[in-house]
Amino acid sequence: MTQSVNHHPSISLLELYCDGSLNAEVALLVATHLDYCPHCQQLRHDIETDLGAQLAASTPASQDLHNADWLEMMNSIVATPQLPFTAVAPAQSVEQLINIGGYQFELPRSLRRVASKRSKWLSMGGIATARLPSGEPHHASLLFIDKHTDVPLHTHQGLEMTLVLAGEMVDENGHYVPGDLIINSPDDTHKPRNISDEPCLCLSVLSAPLQFKEGLTRWLNPLQRFFY
């Protein structure tokens, strides 16, 4: 069964992504959404076309470089050999498939290189998480939720952004399929659950530690570290 993506980044978020001003972790989340979403791919194309047209229509700074300096730069460039067509794409170590919880998932293009640099999986119950290389104040990780498994109820101090990569999940606000982007603000308390018969894999980006609100888990500090 294929279901189409229903939860998209806003145009403002896409614009920040296209002009390169999002931080790397959130940009990775948007890039991964694009891997699933032809609609937003078109918008990306449109925004980049607009930005390119703006660059072409812009005016140089009134204090421009001297001709001689520009010439020197240009001459050093044209003295460089052009790359043969076949050598242009850099070879990268990539990982297309990922194994966790006894399942195998195919990774979208944008995560293939980054996922090969993930930390070890940490597992707890039917949930597992592996950190992707990321820096303060954002943490990016892969989140595995086994079938019929709940993620403990939690709030967070910063933004929590989740992108479904495989399987499906639900929370109080909706039902999410691969490509769906879920953004929760610090005010949201929510409880993601996988109620399906298939395992679920997500990309998660957090901007601050989570606080758990429910029962025992509230006191389990290690759990917080686990998610953050």
């Binding site: 145009i11 992504y17 296209c18 002009d19 390169g20 790397a24 972790e25 940009a27 990775l28 890039a31 891997d35 032809p38 609609h39 791919q41 078109q42 918008l43 194309h45 449109d46 925004i47 980049e48 076309t49 607009d50 930005l51 390119g52 047209a53 703006q54 660059l55 072409a56 229509a57 812009s58 005016t59 140089p60 700074a61 009134s62 421009d64 470089l65 001709n67 520009w70 010439l71 730069m73 240009m74 050093s76 460039i77 044209v78 460089t80 052009q82 790359l83 067509f85 242009v88 850099p90 990268q92 293009r109 944008s110 995560l111 290189r113 980054v114 640099k117 290389p133 990321s134 820096g135």
Partner: protein
């Protein structure tokens, strides 16, 4: 060599685009040619096919000062701006064969290279270049082209009163195109000619404006 002379204009852009059809024209004698259709795409093809230095010089002469201004705005200093310009235009020289005019304008391609170069420069400065790089984030436009069906679907909506207040909130460039197409009922080609922007840019701005209006409408109905 009067390489840079075309960039030495200080006033506002002229209101009527200078149409330059012969790419071998001496740039020093022409007004800004940013609105000229197809010139940069042709120049890139010549660079890719025959390492045409004359064509490259035209691209360099036009885009280097504009990329520098863009870089100074982004980095806040000239040294990094020039590093970005050099790296971007080196990519243009070396990878011209990768440019595919069926997928977009030359200006779009050059902008995205500059964006990627800037991103990787910033990451490198944080010693995080290998964590997440521009190559991970921006696939080289290899997505299949989506169908342009939503445009038609929305045309009827646009004449309704409901959208009017949101129209004013559109970014100016998008609003102008929308007004020409939907209020003055000009064709996309006519708008392209009038404003001196590529046809693809007209279509892109319409799609962006439509999506923005839809978003605004969704929000107001919530």
């Amino acid at each position: 060599m009067d390489l840079m002379m075309t960039t030495r204009h200080h006033g506002p852009e002229p209101s009527t685009p200078a149409m330059v059809t012969d790419r071998t024209l001496n740039l020093a004698t022409t007004e800004p040619v940013s609105r000229d259709l197809g010139q940069w795409e042709q120049a890139l093809a010549l660079v890719a096919l025959s390492r045409d230095k004359q064509a490259y010089q035209e691209l360099f002469g036009y885009f280097a000062p504009r990329l520098r201004a863009f870089g100074i705005k982004m980095f806040g200093n000239e040294q990094q701006a020039l590093e970005m310009v050099q790296d971007t235009l080196l990519n243009v020289w070396q990878k011209a064969a990768l440019f595919d005019p069926t997928r977009g304008c030359a200006s779009t391609w050059i902008f995205t290279i500059a964006r990627n170069v800037r991103f990787d420069m910033l990451r490198k400065k944080q010693s995080r270049k290998d964590d997440i790089s521009a190559d991970d984030l921006w696939a080289d436009g290899d997505y299949p082209e989506a169908e342009d069906h939503q445009t038609q679907k929305w045309e009827l909506w646009l004449i309704t009163e409901k959208l009017a207040p949101h129209f004013a909130a559109l970014p100016p460039a998008q609003r102008t195109v929308m007004e020409k197409v939907y209020l003055e009922e000009m064709s996309h080609q006519e708008v392209s000619d009038l404003l001196g922007i590529p046809l693809g840019t007209v279509k892109s701005r319409i799609r962006l404006a439509l999506d923005r209006l839809r978003e605004a409408l969704d929000d107001s109905e919530r």
